[in-house]
Amino acid sequence: MTVSKKELDKVSECIERFKDKPGALLPLMHAIQDNIGYIPEDCYPQIAKAYNHSVAEVHGFVTFYHHFRRHPAGKNVLQICRAESCQSMGSEALEAHCKQTLGIDYHQTSEDNLITLEPIYCLGNCACSPAVMINDQVIGRVTKEKINNLIKKLK
């Protein structure tokens, strides 16, 4: 996948913004991902040069953190909590249902590019398990019906 000129400009803007900030890589990568949805590998050399790192270090940083994506996600990201509290309330059946309904596994995007499915380990919503997060919105006490309605609404 090639990066568009518009995306590259955005990345350059972000690189400029955090140039004098100590520990810049975290806020920088967030800014890039918030702006263009992922962190293109083609930009590693530019980032490395601006922050005096090696390309390997930039690659190592991006790949260490689950939150950062190296490829664009679908229009929406659905994250299903896999942690213990949600398991105790039936999240396993819920994840199986989501995978089957969308016809994809974790870290994949549905064919219509509508939903990317991700596992997540605790949303802090353990009092109302099982929980999922759709984009930035947490939903508690999720049932198969709730998921079906949610997916329908996104279409």
């Binding site: 940083f61 953190y65 689950h66 949600c86 997540i120 605790c122 802090g124 009092a127």
Partner: protein, 517 residues
Amino acid sequence: MSYKIYIPIDSTAKSLGANEVAHLIELKAQSRKIDLQIIRNGSRGLFWLEPMLEVETDQGRIAYGPVTENDIESLFDAEFFMGKAHPLCLGVTEEIDWLKKQERLTFARVGVIDPINIKDYEKHDGFKGLKKAIQLKPNEIVKEVTDSGLRGRGGAAFPTGIKWQTVHDVPSDKKYIVCNADEGDSGTYSDRMIMENDPFVLIEGMIIAGLAVGADKGYIYLRSEYPDALKVLNEAIETAKQNNYLGQNILGSQFNFELEVTRAAGAYICGEETSLLESLEGKRGMVRYKPPLPAIEGLYGKPTVVNNVISLATVPIILDKGAKHYADFGMGRSKGTLPIQLAGNLKKTGLIEKAFGITLRELLYEFGGGSATGKPIKAAQVGGPLGAFIPEAQFDMPLDYETFAKVNAVVGHGGIVAFDDTVDMSKMARYSFEFCAIESCGKCTPCRIGSTRGMEVIDKIKSGIDVEKNEKLLRDLSETMVDGSLCAMGGMTPFPVISALNYFPADFGLDKDLSKA
């Protein structure tokens, strides 16, 4: 006549539809021409009753819950805004048994105030601790925290005062206060609640920490899974600046303190303090060797206080009411209160702040109301994914750091996840290894490799392959991980595994006698 209605803005309340309820109430009030003033407060933490509305009346606030979109019409018909009777009416909020039985110190304001209204915070004893601290010498602040007996609420339970003393005593041109807000433990949400529902108390605690040790810069390392907390904290920091609680010459003193939030990026290991510091410095979150301790060489090699959200948020009340007031709660060497979080398969989940010493049985059955599914509770995991599974036979243990340590369990961050009798404990044990394999930073071998080998060994036991030999191997591997890992990730993953194996051998297909070998 205007009526005051409180509707929580907490993300769990919102996950159950609090925003939709608030929106409908607003519309309905308009169409019925009723003058309602809607305040978005924090959640009281009675999550089985959320969305829970409150109405201000002469007798105090009256609560209604759980309110769904379908209840709005009948609530208006009953004139709930005057506190009148309705099937969902719970009476005076403060008199609800679940809340009344608690001892809320750190959470005194949570659910009561509008989180980002600084005047509301000040009106409810906010910044009183800071105003006292600013009159004291740094050493006197540290002494107050030490005397309170406060121990790190993140899980390690290290005495907060001793940590502060160390940072205080190291001469340095630069020191830092770092708040560990990477609340990754499953079953815990007290940090999130403080940050979303009473952010100024955390800010105040961090300023006091800065005063005590001579630091002028603070970071809140916040997990990326909490987008709401990020918004609230940034807004609160901006407001605190405008009111001279942050910035230069705070409250007319010589003290300066800057504070900012750094968004983490979804790595569980970054809740480990040295890994967190690496991450803050813009690196992979690889665990550091200790020593040197972060208190001596922390962020950018400078002396750094790294404290959990709850530890820091407890400091203001200690300074305000005095060390003795706080230390009078609790038992043995576990002084004060713990915000306990009930989660998982329970009827009544939510936040309970209680003095140490309450038993698991009281928490699971009296507060929790038993399992949500109505089946017997088979086990409870206390203290997150690295905490042991506790069987029914140990439910009468008091919640206390030392009592738990005696049975190889941990209190940790105070999260309790209940499981009913349909749970397969061998699956949970396998999951512990799986989680460790996903989240290990990879620096030390026992954690990086041991976690994957652990999964394989459990799979073999479950398939009946060389069961006796493999059980021995599993115990041996666990011992290696406990003794040989660099940090608690690999060092404690065996706790849930071995507890599952010891207390529930049948789930592994093991003969009971064999498990005692």
